[in-house]
Structure formats: structure tokens, C-alpha cells
Point group: C2
Amino acid sequence: MERTKISELPERIGEKVRISGWLETIRNQKTMQFLIIKDGTGSVQAVHYKPSDPELAAAISSLTCNSALTIHGTIVENKAVKAGGLEIQIGELEILNLAKGQLPFSGDASQPIRLDWRFIDLWSEQNQTIFKIQTFAEQAMREFWQQEGFIEIHSPKLMSSASESAAELFKLDYFGSGAFLAQSPQFFKQMAMAARFGKIFEVGDVFRADPSFTSHHATEFTSIDMEISFIKSHEDVMDLEERWLNYVIGRIAEVYGKTIRELFQTEVTVPTIPFPRITMEKAQRLLKSLGHVPSADTKPGDIDRESEKILSEWTKKEYGHEFVFVTEYPASIRPFYHMRLAENPEITKSFDLLWKGLEVTTGAQREHRPEILRRQIAEKGLSAEALKWYVDFFEYGCPPHGGLGFGLARMMMLLLGFKNIKDVTYLFRGPNRLSP
Amino acid sequence: MERTKISELPERIGEKVRISGWLETIRNQKTMQFLIIKDGTGSVQAVHYKPSDPELAAAISSLTCNSALTIHGTIVENKAVKAGGLEIQIGELEILNLAKGQLPFSGDASQPIRLDWRFIDLWSEQNQTIFKIQTFAEQAMREFWQQEGFIEIHSPKLMSSASESAAELFKLDYFGSGAFLAQSPQFFKQMAMAARFGKIFEVGDVFRADPSFTSHHATEFTSIDMEISFIKSHEDVMDLEERWLNYVIGRIAEVYGKTIRELFQTEVTVPTIPFPRITMEKAQRLLKSLGHVPSADTKPGDIDRESEKILSEWTKKEYGHEFVFVTEYPASIRPFYHMRLAENPEITKSFDLLWKGLEVTTGAQREHRPEILRRQIAEKGLSAEALKWYVDFFEYGCPPHGGLGFGLARMMMLLLGFKNIKDVTYLFRGPNRLSP
């Protein structure tokens, strides 16, 4: 017999069905046994009149909560049952997996303990819903890319040389030579532009070996990347990102807006186009005028975490917008491959995107002119020899291009109003966490 | 001015447009200059009458083939032009990136040289089309998963213990302790079943440290994985896989069948359901009856590469089918987590899928009963302690489940009739290749 989802039972009153799921609670009375079964689509009460089948009654009595089971039975109306006004009269029981009687942690356990037992932690309705929404969010992203003719790439995560600072890279032995784990698909998505792919996206894992312990960093995370050719400036990249976010968040609001409001107490606001944009120079002046003194370890020309929050608050007040692009970062704090302004080589054609007070994207027009790239490599003290293979990409007619990256977990965290990416990551990886 | 795609030029006759692309060829005559420009959507002739603008004429003369450029000009009808019966009269030229005059390899270069310069190798129409079809194939897969309510997961590639033999694993230092790179998402997709996700898929990179030099192995590749709960046996997993392949190949045939026939000389055959299935025992008897002697290094109870080819040929002749499931592999050559037949613990509830003579999938029902899992771990000589965290998944009501994996590159190779996965991989990684 085909399995019936619990959500479909109201259409099956009077019929024999097979349901499979997990035992939520059990009440063993003198003559009656009451079970609540969940299957991810809903829950249902299952009943058994003990004297009618003592052997079945004994099997039911042996059950522990959370056990996986299949019940064959008849659906009957019962107005007294709160959940759905129906119940299933148990005809036959298959115990698929008898759970240990005691869960390894209690409801108020700390996050580290819950992450140790992540597979149990994920049982909650909130956690199940996070990954349904994430699945849908990625589907919405792909609808956008498909409509716009993007090509999907899967770039290798094992590489022979560092794309930026080797300090942030995991190193491993690769058949006798050394390899790095990619900290971003940067070089390889640019290669797609040299390969004349035009517009590409990638959804893939990246790895960061720097020991970050903030609420919004992970050692391994899913990075969403885009790169497009024949742009005029980084403005084209920002135009792309805001159209993409407008579409993706729009689709999420449409399908999951109500769920997110009810289950996560968070309003999904579809961002209007264009997003506010502010140059770094103006942002610095604004922060100063608001009396903000950057933290001592802030690099000259950069903004600190607190500044990101202040800028987002200001944008919210000034423009009613959750997003703000901070543009034209100083070259001193940007990688060598960011293009500089023609009129001022101290300033890059780059941007960060802030959302609700947190940086979610770094993007830029890339430098595609080999002679200028070589100069910028030298200026940053990097090895021309180690990067020759990369500079080669630009020697054979690679068009002007740019792109951006967006961490999937940061998106989910901000979308659903969480404070920590651990809450929205399937299995978090950090300096102190490599298992399960 | 908005960029116009070359494919759209026939609708713009008489109008001023801006096109961007690459210089394919140039003919510099006494008074006329003729350029062929490609942009990925088509090619067009661009013309300039030298005396009308000597400065422009000089700029055009300086061009090298493959340079990236933008042309502003007027589209005029010209019946004499083979490609499209139109041309663009150049008004203005922007040289975006002047290519080196000479490509680093010639048309008949060997594959290693072409892979060294993969970004140029990818310019060909065939190669561009491979990645368009791959993008579409993945989209079709997702249509299927979406219709069936699958959840997407992104499992970590950094893990603390080996899922199978540690010999195949890359090892690295992880903040002072040791980590492995996942050779498959096996444990983590099973965790999703323990987490009550029901049906999941993952598209992600996996890593294999064994030095394989065949035409169908890679050190890093994109693995497509599925796992489903509440199955009755491995037959349910095969049912899933054949419905999935029927849908995906059906969509590809619909949209790209003609292109694949013309450009790759390969017919896309939509596989009918059900796929032929043959037990390993019957396959062995069949191979013997066909006079095949397995190669000396074949493990007892297994089949060799040649056998896979013979079985596929036999299935093609007998059933007119490109696919065949070989089922019920001996436990001796399967991992510890494959479930065994209730009536014969020497035999697993597992399968391989062969397509056109090559293994493309290993799948199975998994053992979800902790006490049997522990016995099988001991039997394989693995460490109960190192795998405790994994066995824990099954202590709290994890339902019966099973799944499969499919390498993306193998799919593309067989679909398009290539002999080597290097031909269909964006950037191949093998024991001798870590760059670019």
C-alpha cells in the first residue's frame, strides 16, 4: 500500500491507509492506547482498543517517543480530537527504528550541545522550515539566473596558488606537492570571463583558515558568486545585485512571507530598486558627523563593525531601505585585482553591500589590463611569478568584467532575523568545531 | 546606449546600435576594412571606409584577432554578406582589451597543452555549448527535485573522520588538529534522514586522494547526491533514480537534442522506465556464458571494466536500453553502511547503475539499525570509537533510508559522447594537474 501523508488524511476518511512517521507522545490507558504521530506534513492521533488485539497492545506499549514507525489503519472521524477531527484506528504496526528512551539533551540545552547533536536539533519546526526556505531561496536565485542567461560553473576548490593572502588558506599535500583550498572562486570565475562565458554564477563551498570567532564567520561556507562581462563600471555589478535581491527576496516574501512572520517573528521587506549608494569618503564624513569614533584596530580608510550598523540605521531612517552600498573603497584595503578609478588610482571601483547592519557582499570591477594588473601585484608585494597563470587570462582579449559574492548563511540569518549563522547552517564549521 | 546582441541585429536594420564582442578576423584593404565580430550569440561583419575617418582606420589597423571591443555603428542591409545579409558601418570603436597577436597554442595542440590554456580552449562553440547544456541539465534536475519536495543541503567538506577508507582521503591541519576532505557527502546526507528531512539532494564537490589515471576519474569532482527516507528496499532508490534520469534526459532531449546531434554527433535517447535490472549473481553467470574472463585484479564477486561494457552491450541488444542496474553486490566489496539482505547477510541491498558501458552510480539502502551497524563496522575492521558520532544518528528513530550518487562530469561525458571527463570539466583536477 502507498504511503499517505498525514496532511492528506482528511480526504481519506473511512479508508484504510498506511502512514509513516515518528512517535511524538504516547498515552497508555487501561483499555485504550493513544499515540500522536508526526511525519513532517502534520500530526495525527492513532488509537488502539487493547482487548481487541493484546499482542498489538504489547507492541504499542514497548514504543519509545521519537521511534520511527509505520501504521496501517482506518481513518475515522472523531470530533473530540483537536488536531483535524479525525484519528487512525491502528490495524497493524511496524516498528522501523526504536529510539533510545531518553534524548541526549534537554530543551534548554546550550548551542554547543545542540550542535553536538545537530541531527536532533534539526527536528524542530523552525529548523525544518529554515532549510525549506533556503531550498526555495536558491531556487528563486536560479530562476533569476536562468531568465538572464547565466551559465553555472563548478570551479575547483583545490588550487596551486593563493588568490589573496596565504595566511587565510588551508594547505595540504597534493600527490607530493602543495595545494591550497580555495577561499573564494575569485580567479576561476574571472577565468570564465576570459573564456567568453559572458555571465556566470557559482554556488559552492569556500574555506577560510583564519581563526574568526564572530557570530557571522565560518571556516567553511556556501558562497554564491556571480561575474559578468562587458560592464562599464562597478555600477553595473551593483545594478545586477539589486535586481537579483529584489527578485529573490520578492519571491521569498510571496511564498514564505507569512510563515517567516509567524514562525520567526521577522518581516520580509522586498528591497526597492535602486538601493541607496554612498561613497566611502561620504560614509566617513557622515560617521564623523554622527560622532562615531572607529575602533582602534580599524584600518585607515576602512569602517568598523559598529560603523556598518550605524550606516544601516542611517539608511533605514533616511531612505527607508534595509540595504546600502558603500562604494569606492581605498586601494590600500582592497585586493590587487580591484580596478582603480581612472581619475584617482588610490580609489577602487568596488563596493560592499550592507544589510541590516552587516556586510553581506564585496564586489568590484576587476582589473583586466595585464600591464596594470602586474603593477598592482607588485605594489601589494605579491609574487608576479606565482600569479603569472592568472595574469595570462587577460592577455588574450578578456573583456571588462566584474562580480560579487554573497554568503548563503548570512543571507538566511538576516532574512530570518537570527543573530548567529550557526543557527541557519546545516553543519557549522569553525575553529572549535569540526564535528559531527 | 544599451548593448545589442549580434543575434538581434536583423531587427535593427537602419538603426544605430552598440555591439560588444571579440574580433574574429580582419581584412585590411586599400580603402575598405572588414572585421568579423563574434559575441557568443552570433557573428557580424563590420566595415569602415578608410578615407572617411583616417584616425579610425588607423585604430582598426592596430587591432589583433581575439581583442575585445565595442563598436557603435549603423546596421545596413547588404545582400552580398553571407552571414545575415547585413553589416555594421563602424562609427566609433572602443578597444576594450587588445589581445596578444599570437595564441599560445595551435589548433592541433594536445589535450595537456589545451588544459594549460583552458580559458582559450573553452572559446570553441562545442565547449561553450557543453556548459550551456550542463547548466540546463542541472536546472532540469532541480525541476524534478522541486516537484517531488526535496530539500537541498550543503554539507561540510571538512570532516573529522573518514567515511570509508582513509587511504582515499586528503588530510590537512585544522587549527592544530587533523581534518579530512570529504570523499562523498555519505554520512551527512544520512544525517539529514536522522534529522527528519525526508528527501534531500546535494550538488557539491568531493575529493579523492587515490592516484587514478583513467579517462573517467578526477581528484575533485561535482557529485550529485540524493537520499530518501521510509523506503522498503533499494528498489525504491532505483525507482527514484530512473524517474529522475527519465525526466532530466527527457528535458535535455527536448531542448538540446538537435544541438547535441549536430554539434556532438550523439543521439540523446530518453531512457524508458523501468530500467533493466540484473542481480550480480546473474550478471556473473551471464558474463561467464558469454566467455568473459575477468581481469586478474578483479576482486572476488566484483566485475571489471570490461564486464561493465559487456553488460551494457548485452542490455542494449536484449532490452534496447542504454542503462542497466546491477544489484545485490556481495558485502565483501561494499562499504559497512550498506544494508544486507535479511535472508542472506553476505549480500547487500545495493546497486550500481551502468550507462553506455560505464558505472555512473553506486546506491543502496543504508543500514539504520545501530546494533547491526556496529557489527558491520567491526566486521570491516573499522574503529567503533571513530564512528560513534555516525552510529549515534541511528539511535533516535532514524527511518529506513537509501540513496545514490552521480558524478556530474560522467553524466555530461556520456550524454555528449565524449571519451574523457577532462573534455567536459570546467577545470580538471587529477594527480598530475592542479593548475590553472
